[in-house]
Symmetry: D2
Subunit: 395 residues, 4 copies
Amino acid sequence: MTPAPLSQRFRAVRERTLGLCAHATVEDQLVQPMPDASPTKWHLAHTTWFFETIVLRAPDPAFNFLFNSYYEAIGPRVERARRGMMSRPSLDEVIAYRRRIDERMSAALTAGAVDAALVELGIQHEQQHQELILTDLKYALGTQPVRPAYRDDLKQASGTAEGGWRSFDGGVVEIGADATGFAFDNERPRHRVFVEPFRIANRAITNGDVQQFIAAGGYGDASLWLSDGWATVTREQWTRPLYWDGEQHYTLAGMRLIDPDETACHLSYYEADAIARWRGARLPTEAEWELAASGDPTHGNFADDDILHPSRNGGPFGDVWEWTGSSYLAYPGFRPLGGAVGEYNGKFMSGQQVLRGGSCFTPRDHIRRSYRNFFPPAARWQMSGARLVEDGGLK
Amino acid sequence: MTPAPLSQRFRAVRERTLGLCAHATVEDQLVQPMPDASPTKWHLAHTTWFFETIVLRAPDPAFNFLFNSYYEAIGPRVERARRGMMSRPSLDEVIAYRRRIDERMSAALTAGAVDAALVELGIQHEQQHQELILTDLKYALGTQPVRPAYRDDLKQASGTAEGGWRSFDGGVVEIGADATGFAFDNERPRHRVFVEPFRIANRAITNGDVQQFIAAGGYGDASLWLSDGWATVTREQWTRPLYWDGEQHYTLAGMRLIDPDETACHLSYYEADAIARWRGARLPTEAEWELAASGDPTHGNFADDDILHPSRNGGPFGDVWEWTGSSYLAYPGFRPLGGAVGEYNGKFMSGQQVLRGGSCFTPRDHIRRSYRNFFPPAARWQMSGARLVEDGGLK
Amino acid sequence: MTPAPLSQRFRAVRERTLGLCAHATVEDQLVQPMPDASPTKWHLAHTTWFFETIVLRAPDPAFNFLFNSYYEAIGPRVERARRGMMSRPSLDEVIAYRRRIDERMSAALTAGAVDAALVELGIQHEQQHQELILTDLKYALGTQPVRPAYRDDLKQASGTAEGGWRSFDGGVVEIGADATGFAFDNERPRHRVFVEPFRIANRAITNGDVQQFIAAGGYGDASLWLSDGWATVTREQWTRPLYWDGEQHYTLAGMRLIDPDETACHLSYYEADAIARWRGARLPTEAEWELAASGDPTHGNFADDDILHPSRNGGPFGDVWEWTGSSYLAYPGFRPLGGAVGEYNGKFMSGQQVLRGGSCFTPRDHIRRSYRNFFPPAARWQMSGARLVEDGGLK
Amino acid sequence: MTPAPLSQRFRAVRERTLGLCAHATVEDQLVQPMPDASPTKWHLAHTTWFFETIVLRAPDPAFNFLFNSYYEAIGPRVERARRGMMSRPSLDEVIAYRRRIDERMSAALTAGAVDAALVELGIQHEQQHQELILTDLKYALGTQPVRPAYRDDLKQASGTAEGGWRSFDGGVVEIGADATGFAFDNERPRHRVFVEPFRIANRAITNGDVQQFIAAGGYGDASLWLSDGWATVTREQWTRPLYWDGEQHYTLAGMRLIDPDETACHLSYYEADAIARWRGARLPTEAEWELAASGDPTHGNFADDDILHPSRNGGPFGDVWEWTGSSYLAYPGFRPLGGAVGEYNGKFMSGQQVLRGGSCFTPRDHIRRSYRNFFPPAARWQMSGARLVEDGGLK
């Protein structure tokens, strides 16, 4: 399928962002219940700032300070933890700002007066923030003393996955994005990796698996946890995944019974790793995951499906981002983009783990087999889960 | 003048609170830029909760958790620092809650089915929160990267104070509220205190005094500061009062040139004490202050004057709360109120200093000569200043 | 009795300090288990530094940095919390430093080449640090996983106090030190205070009182505590006094059965205040305490008695420092000493409460009726207790 | 060369530990200037505890609590940051404890009543702590206000390295320890890795390189740093390596002129990575490092050489531990040891980077080509440096 022209895709992605916000109140869009969970209004403004600053290269100095996220090359910015304290500019003013920049972008796109690669990057960037809007809103609503639904009209998932394992012989394989089409700099270059034989589960860890882990005392057994993970469990008094409350858990449709057959979500790397160890298994490396997923189309339960919650499907794409056992590091031969966007990915290559496959919060056309998401190992507010792997061939 | 009937006063105070909020946006009313500065919406709800819980004694359990401030006897509550993260209930819902309780209160007042003393306490409590709404909104707006005015229609103050000192012989004097009329428990009983001769300045510290203190290197001279004050100056890098920025300072009318003849505001106790020491003077005790103010009517620049900023007047009432050198402790024979409202004042008698006289944020009919306000010595977001005193009689 | 000549008293106080250290190992004298509890070695050096810097006025620049406590006028210093990390200079070097300064002081005293008032201040200062050496060593030893005795040869106290109350009519009374004899600047000037009638307990709070408070659920009842106190109880999980462990408590003689008739020690102001409130009583003001003690000789159980633990006696002097309900503030007409020693007392007049009467850790000839000790209300590692007071005359 | 019998090696390693301590005072051996830098006395006791608990399996319960480091399976322990507050047991008692366990170990070794693999592990463990004793003592002495030398009789290094690069073709290579001889569990199994062509510097980063980096403004240029690294630089105000002070730096021989030709030490991963980025290079992966070192004998400047400071040599072994760009993760097929020693290595596989090659603080016979050391990226008190790598073949 021929992709739509850039200007059309630009307008579509911008419109979809506003659509996501239509379900939240003005107040919901302002709060920042923890430093990592930025306000919706901030996401609306920051994505606009990105086009204004990176693509149009004519930023308003005031907004530059207000809505720069982390670009040191571009200058100082509002402290991350204080984004939720900006009652001004108002949501209306931010939406007007969006409209203004959209018009300037449309004019520039029509005139061909923009760097198409940077527009593409801006579109991909906005899609990332679409996922973050859902993720951060879920946190904002789910940690209210009352726990309101985000939408009342969400769909139910259907279908069930088969269990079991698939085996791979390994050897020298290629992973990463080739030179064609859009990919982030961190997915390149495509390169060779040696992989030992392994088998990988047909489905991700389910809520039922987590329930068994809890019943077996997993959250109280130091021997199952990485040292840093155990320190986190102890300090933050984790006894179950985020959003779980007895038999129920918070979803964007409100509180719902926990379905043991659903793919488990909101697991930190520490939890995923501990569950794997308890099962006598481990998490896949990036290379194993990408090799295993090489035969699958990038189909699955994505944000476009209006479910916004993991299903019972087992496939590698959609539902939840899957933690890998690989730390987020540069591929051999990695070269960051030039200019300010060189800070986009490379400078975060420390202290984080790679996640793969996209989630039910990810726009469908945003995902790729080579896509590398990354978060610190204690992060649990992302739509994240995991899939087990064992050494060796057929079981 | 006969005071208005209780039901009329109840309605008036409740209406005035809403009037204060009319100048702020929905978003302004939600933010909490520091733990001490509660959101306007929270003030709206908490004052309502007070009537519902303390007067009507039939609290909604959910709201009880949401809007209890610090009453241990009444149960657990939302952590203070997280008040600004409550996007739900919405501002509209809080205003509807106000209307609901107002109706129940009106019915109960008409039926005579309430404890009048508790209604009076609720009215006084709401007036305190009216001052806090202005104080906290000033902080919320004044610490925005953009610094918007709260109102564009505020009035200008007029008049100028005379300088000089007034002398008092002291001796055994009486201070505190007598048994008639409303007063908080902490203002009673009226009791005798021995006061040495002293003289007190006719006007409070002015911006010009502060400018001279700055020019003399006061913020960098440890010898002028209490030890805890110097630690605060160093840790928080204080070099000038809160809201000062070069030649200007933030006011509820927006950024404005600093007028050297105006009474200085937003001084912490540490700053007031250091300026006094630099002048070779000191702050008055509560007894000195009350004795000195005994001949003055409680006239001055109050919130009702729609100036919302200190004037050039010098009197003890209005403009700024004046720090005293007295720690906030029980008067001899102090008895807290019974029941949950026993926590209203007494339990805070540790680590705070007394302030006197009311401010330009205080409702005029809320102030009394015996009124004891109290804040920790580092607090500077309050509308606070000070007045100097010297030992001995005529100068 | 004529006091001994200054040079003789200087030598005696210096020798006694070394005697206190003889019971501790080199390692005991180095550790600093919390920032407030300075190492013995540091006390040994700092008291010497005081004579070198303040009296001889010829400080070694290196030692000036190492052993200055808090004199801003004298310059920067080792951060308080890092005193216990100074393995160098060694204890031997510090003792040699003491000998060196002692010789210079002796020569200067003989030659009459010193300011006698400053020598006196240095002697009093060293006595204060003698108490701190015992206090801080008790903390260092008592918080070891093993809890060794400081001395095995300590004496047992004898005697028992009568209970009951003494009444005072109050009126205008004088408190504070008059102009004769040594007193700290903060004890002066002697001045008039108005005191209402009150009665004061013949004995301080006992361990038995504390046991009853615990049994009554006092540590779990918010209504008995100041707000800051309750926050401390909750945050630090206080359920009993410091050093209590079941039926026993740690003393400088090692773990010992808690004697219900002994005066209770290591109470914070918050605990003393809560126990008083639970008893329907309160703590005395400074003026009440000093008035009530005016007929008592300054006899009691002091450090010279080699008991180093409270007795069953009830008198106002010795055993424990008694918290008063008075905040530590300047007396009317207070003038700090000139020069660097102006920082000795005045700059701490914020956030602390006054304690009176001296303790079993205090040198007997160090105490005075007008003596004002002061600590923050959460401090419990001091040898501190309290005495109850009630309003009104005869019971 | 046939290795010495186990019992002889046991005695030798135990004796050498005491020898390292002979140069430090009792007080030096107690202090813990930061949580990571344990006291020498604690190292002396903990290594003994290891033999008592893991090998002899008959721990003294009291010592078990005192000197357990991080073994959750073995039970609770003294909080890491409070190790330096244990004045008891005294150093003498700890040395007596060592003698006691040494005798029991000797008897057990003679009787053949021990698991030889665990004795070997205990010996290797003690060697690791020998390096930590030097590392932590350097920190304890080098952060004293006075900065004493550890030894006055240390030797000077000689020789100079050649510059330039060596190229490697890469391909599928094997790394890790094979099944023969002692190796830690984390070095196994030996396995295949695909390596792209690269060239590696003949010598590690020198002080001269660091000086040029400083001169070029490297510590102030965000674009050179990982995001976490830049946050650390900013928060901790790094402007040069640890121990540098103008033209000099602290060494175990005292303050010494910085020699630009010496291998730079005490670099954190963040600093090594930033210097590499500034040079247009990067750090080697573990596989690259091990491949490049495969032709070198494990010769170099080790602790046995009594220099205890990096030389001008360039080889991969000795001088400094070299940071790699590889995160510390499990090798494919990794299996931790069984029992409590399963916690030795595996549970730390999160948030750390691998270092290779040993240092001038490492015992010579402790190092192996496959040896994997690991520390968090901000650690700079270790004897750590780095070596640069570039992509591609011959330059």
